[in-house]
């Protein structure tokens, strides 16, 4: 069953389109992360669900009910803001319980529910404090508690972790995911941090320039990016992308470099060859089909090392294990044809078929 349905949702500010026709179904209890660079319309999309932005086109429905014309309070959503937006003059307990106070819940019930929620997020000892006397992580918890107490149908998170320091961010990330596992409330989480996105999401939605580029499980999005934008955006360090021409059906050429691919492509087509730095296989000069690169810079990243150089007039990265202590200078490597990503240079869409799918189809044919 779908909990939230986006049907051709669009948003225009003074004739400038910000969100251009988004279609998406979110299942009940699902944790969906919307990932994209700043200005891609992801926050606007979230705020349209919340009712804080008017919807310029299309429809959003929550639990089968179209909410375009509903006030925020009638939509059953709770939101956690980037800067927490706590009421500075109210104590933690008053902040958490404000929604209940507004809806006329009796004082006794209110206190009891505040106590329950505060315990869930570990704020029991801080209920009398003002937000000004709390640390960033504690404020974040208050914001979460404030959202939880209304027992909403939908949780909306608008980059809630970006004001925290790195360590706390990891901790809160885990807490949010645990909380979701426990409560099972449909959640939409907007972020530009791909690690947050990968770790939190049941389903990842990658947005760019007001459109959805790809929807899928984080692992699928990482393994098989649907467009060149997703290929470049998801993954850190990002994927190497080399513009090539198809020289012969299974061979790509870029300047002096020749790459072999697992499937045949129409000769002469311009394509973009993508390979992740960790999928590059460092080898010796003697092996066949090697590509050469001059390593001019090395990044030490602790668990691995990143070699930077240039291939076919473009920047290229190769990841090697930390135990490999080679220095700058010439490097030979080859690419596994099954771990390449091919994109149409003009449309940006992926053009190669899934090798696993091909293999599965062949097995089916044989049988």
């Amino acid at each position: 069953m779908s909990s939230i349905v986006f049907d051709r949702v669009a948003k225009t500010y003074d004739k400038t389109p910000v969100v251009r026709g988004v279609d998406l179904d979110i299942k009940t209890g699902e944790f969906v992360v919307i990932l994209g660079p700043s200005g891609c319309g992801k926050s606007t999309l979230l705020r349209m669900v919340a009712g804080l932005e008017a919807i310029s086109g299309g429809e959003i429905s929550i639990n089968g009910k179209i909410v375009n014309q509903l006030e925020p309070r009638e939509r059953g959503c709770a939101m956690v803001f980037q800067n927490y937006a706590l009421y500075p003059h109210m104590s933690v307990a008053e902040n958490i319980g404000y929604a209940l106070k507004v809806s006329g819940v009796s004082k006794a019930e209110r206190q009891q529910r505040i106590a329950t929620v505060a315990q869930t997020v570990g704020l029991t000892d801080f209920l009398d404090r003002k937000p000004g006397a709390l640390s960033g992580g504690q404020r974040q918890r208050v914001a979460m508690a404030r959202a939880m107490i209304r027992e909403p149908k939908v949780f909306l998170f608008d980059e809630p972790l970006s004001n925290l320091d790195a360590q706390l961010r990891v901790q809160m990330r885990i807490e949010i995911r645990k909380l979701h596992n426990r409560l099972g409330v449909t959640s939409i989480f907007v972020t530009h941090d791909q690690i947050e996105a990968m770790t939190l999401a049941d389903r990842l939605v990658v947005m760019n320039a007001g459109r959805i580029e790809q929807v899928g499980a984080p692992d699928d999005v990482y393994r098989r990016p649907a467009t060149k934008f997703v290929a470049g955006f998801v993954g850190s360090p990002s994927m190497n992308l080399i513009p090539c021409a198809v020289a012969s059906p299974s061979q790509l050429r870029a300047d002096a470099c020749v790459f072999h691919v697992a499937q045949s492509l129409p000769t002469g087509q311009k394509t973009l060859l993508g390979v992740r730095p960790e999928d590059v296989i460092v080898c010796t000069e003697q092996e066949a089909d090697t590509v050469h690169m001059d390593v001019d810079f090395i990044e030490e990243l602790g668990s691995f090392r990143m070699l930077h150089g240039r291939v076919a007039n473009g920047d290229f990265c190769v990841q090697i294990p930390a135990s490999d202590r080679r220095g700058t200078g010439p490097l030979a490597f080859r690419l596994d044809p099954l771990k390449l990503h091919l994109f149409d240079n003009d449309t940006g869409l992926r053009v190669d078929a899934d090798p696993h799918a091909i293999a599965a189809a062949e097995i089916a044919q044989v049988a």
Binding site: A50, G51, L52, E71, P72, R73, C77, A78, M79, F81, Q82, N83, A85, L86, Y87, P88, H89, Y98, A99, V102, S103, G132, R146, R150
Partner: protein
């Protein structure tokens, strides 16, 4: 910028001291004058040390000018003006900052422009309206050719007449507007998500947050209303409605034409009239300063 030079410090203190003497000295002289009898005060030069007629002077003035009644009038007018100004300023600023409607900026500028029209400038039309509140409407209706009989409402010699023309304020609206604009939008959005309507947001969140602003505005406006002289003088002919500030002038002239002014009594009255606003400022000072200098807390 913080300078830590002994010489500069000394110079600063010296300047402060001069400024202090300059502002305190006249008040001291008023006080000294209020403690002598008439002959001593009118001597040249006037003595610079307090005399021994203080209590009888104050008692005499208090009874002569019926200051009990006048101070009460002043208190009623100043308090009502203060409350009215704060209410109107908060509401108008709330409307201008938080609601989107047509001609919003036009209304804002309209309010802003009234800063250029203090009461003294518009005193004649204001008096005309106070004498007959519905007169402008009557003129409009006559101009349009309607024959509607509107009742005549006269506010001369009433508290309403003393208070209402002083209530509308651009200063307060402007102060509130600046403050509301420093409040992050997310706070309003969070309140919306919590289900609070516009009134609840104003009462539960905006007003408590603007307490210091309110205190600053209240202090300024109380003193402003208390010190009003021209308007009460113009509109009240009944001594029972006179304010203390305007009644001071009645104390100055001598008992008959040509005799010297009774400065000792006038000065005693002045100090009596100054006391309440002084108390308000002293009491509100902590809030007052914070409200004017801090943009956030």
């Amino acid at each position: 910028m913080i300078e830590r030079t002994p010489l500069l410090n000394a110079l600063t203190h010296f300047l402060l001291l001069i400024a202090l003497v300059l502002s305190i000295l006249p008040i001291y002289i008023v006080f000294v004058a209020s403690t002598h009898d008439l002959q001593t005060v009118n001597k040249v030069p006037m003595p610079l040390w307090p005399g021994d007629h203080m209590f009888e002077n104050y008692q005499y003035v208090w009874n002569k000018a019926k200051f009990g009644e006048k101070l009460l009038n002043s208190l009623i007018v100043a308090t009502a003006v203060t409350i009215g100004k704060i209410t109107i300023a908060a509401l108008s600023a709330y409307s201008i900052v938080y609601f989107r409607y047509r001609f919003r900026m036009f209304f804002f500028w309209l309010i802003f422009i009234t800063l250029m029209l203090p009461l003294e400038v518009r005193i004649v039309p204001t008096y005309a309206v106070a004498a007959d509140v519905l007169q402008p409407f009557r003129l409009i209706f006559e101009g349009l050719g309607f024959a509607i009989a509107l009742p005549e409402i006269n506010l001369l010699n009433t508290y309403a007449g003393l208070i209402l023309p002083l209530v509308a304020t651009a200063t307060g609206t402007f102060l509130y507007r600046q403050f509301f604009m420093t409040i992050p939008d997310e706070l309003a959005e969070a309140a919306k998500m919590d289900g609070a309507g516009p009134w609840r947001f104003l009462i539960d969140i905006l007003l408590p947050l603007s307490r210091t602003n309110m205190a600053a505005l209240a202090t300024i406006m109380f003193v402003y209303a208390w010190n009003q002289y021209l308007w009460p003088l113009l509109i009240t002919t009944n001594p029972a409605r006179a304010t203390a500030t305007m009644y001071l002038q009645k104390l100055v002239p001598g008992p008959a034409f040509g005799q010297p002014p009774v400065w000792n009594e006038a000065m005693a009255g002045t100090l009596l009239v100054m006391a309440p606003p002084l108390l308000v400022v002293i009491f509100m000072q902590r809030w007052f300063v914070r409200g004017l200098i801090s943009t956030d807390k």
